[in-house]
């Protein structure tokens, strides 16, 4: 199953950050296993229709976070040490996903209390089984 990457044109978050979040999520959730080779910068930029520099920045951020390793001539691969994620990694991912969610629902002019209530309901009735 190929992991899909989607850039939301209405999201004020920069494209490189949107990509970084999606890669982080895919790596932490195990969808991208350690050793998986990522597409080349040029290929991913062409597929998404964005500048190569944007993808390069995403990879650079992922590398800085220790999620991927880039070898000369060997491409960029998911780092071996990354599995279901360390506690810090998972917390970082949660914060990033929460920030993204809040940013999007606030665009719908929903009050914060209603957002919190919706999250509480989702925790009780919805979402992936623990």
């Amino acid at each position: 199953m190929t992991v899909a990457l989607r850039l939301d044109a209405h999201d004020p978050t920069p494209a490189y950050e949107q990509l970084r979040r999606q890669f982080t999520f895919a790596i932490a959730s195990g969808s991208l296993a350690p050793g998986t080779r990522l597409p080349t910068v040029r290929q991913l930029a062409a597929d998404l229709g964005i500048a190569a520099g944007t993808v390069m920045r995403t990879y650079s951020e992922l590398e800085g976070g220790g999620l991927v390793v880039t070898r000369r001539g060997g491409g960029t691969i998911v780092a071996a040490a990354v599995g279901a994620g360390s506690q810090a990694e998972r917390e970082q991912l949660l914060a990033s996903q929460a920030a993204s969610f809040v940013g999007q629902v606030r665009l719908l002019c929903i009050p914060d209390e209603a957002i919190v209530e919706a999250v509480r309901c989702a925790l009780v009735y919805g979402g992936t089984d623990r």
């Binding site: 190929t2 990457l5 989607r6 850039l7 990522l38 597409p39 062409a46 998404l48």
Partner: protein
Amino acid sequence: MSTMALGLTGITMTLMTSGLAGLGVLVAVVVVWAVRRSRAVVFDEGRYPGLVALRRSTLVARYVGLAAGCVALVAAASIGRFGRGLFLAPGAAGAVLILAVMIGQQSAHGSARTRGVAGVEHRRILDYVPRALAVVTLAVLVCLIVAAAWTTSVASVDESGLYREFTAQETVPVAIERGGAQYPASFTLGPFPGGYYTSQLAVGLPIVLVLGSVALWLTTRRPRNGSDPVLVRVDDALRRQTAEGIVAAAGLAFSLSLLGVALSAGIAVGGMAGLGPHYAIGAGALGLLALGSIAVASWCAVLVLVPGGGTVKPS
């Protein structure tokens, strides 16, 4: 006498009939194979208009390239004296065909792309190139380089000063009345694929190699929405079809060039067969090379003429 003549006529007729029957069977096999190959890449056309455009441009480029390649073949073949252009023609035709395929790919560059959506996938040239065909094409290229290097190194100049003849230096026994000694003598036959002809290969074939490599790279690099499995299946099939056409065009250029070198060298060397067994063996080896190159050229010609459905790899 008349009985013998009748007998020979009968044998000739039998041979001709067998030959025609064999040719008929070969044509039938090729036609059946071609029809089976010609199945189109099918998908929901209403849902994927980009893929429809991509499939159309892939096929149109192939057939425009074939027509332009034929023109290039004829034009290049008429260049130079003593049939020199015949050695340039396969390379020129192959290069033009590959160029057309490349232009076809570029004209539909973004057809399989959905801006802002992609799959995490690493595409490689080797995923699309047909292995067996690529190996055979490379083997033909190696044979061609070896054969052309040998013919170039042993060729001699003709009266015009052109390296296009084969000269055998042998010691031959002379008549008993002159003492029965052995004297050196030289025998010359041509045309032979010396530097005069092989220089054309040195121009055409590197161009085919470079263009083929660039075309394969561009075919692999063409963007797509890798997160849609249906689109990926169809796009992979079209990429495989294109890559097969590129490798087959190169294979056709190399095998026809090898046929020219092996056939002309074989005829010249075979003409010296009476001077010693090594000439006969050499001519036989060159003849086998020519036969092999005909087989490869026929295979490549069918692959170029009839684009396959781009076999889908089992997932």
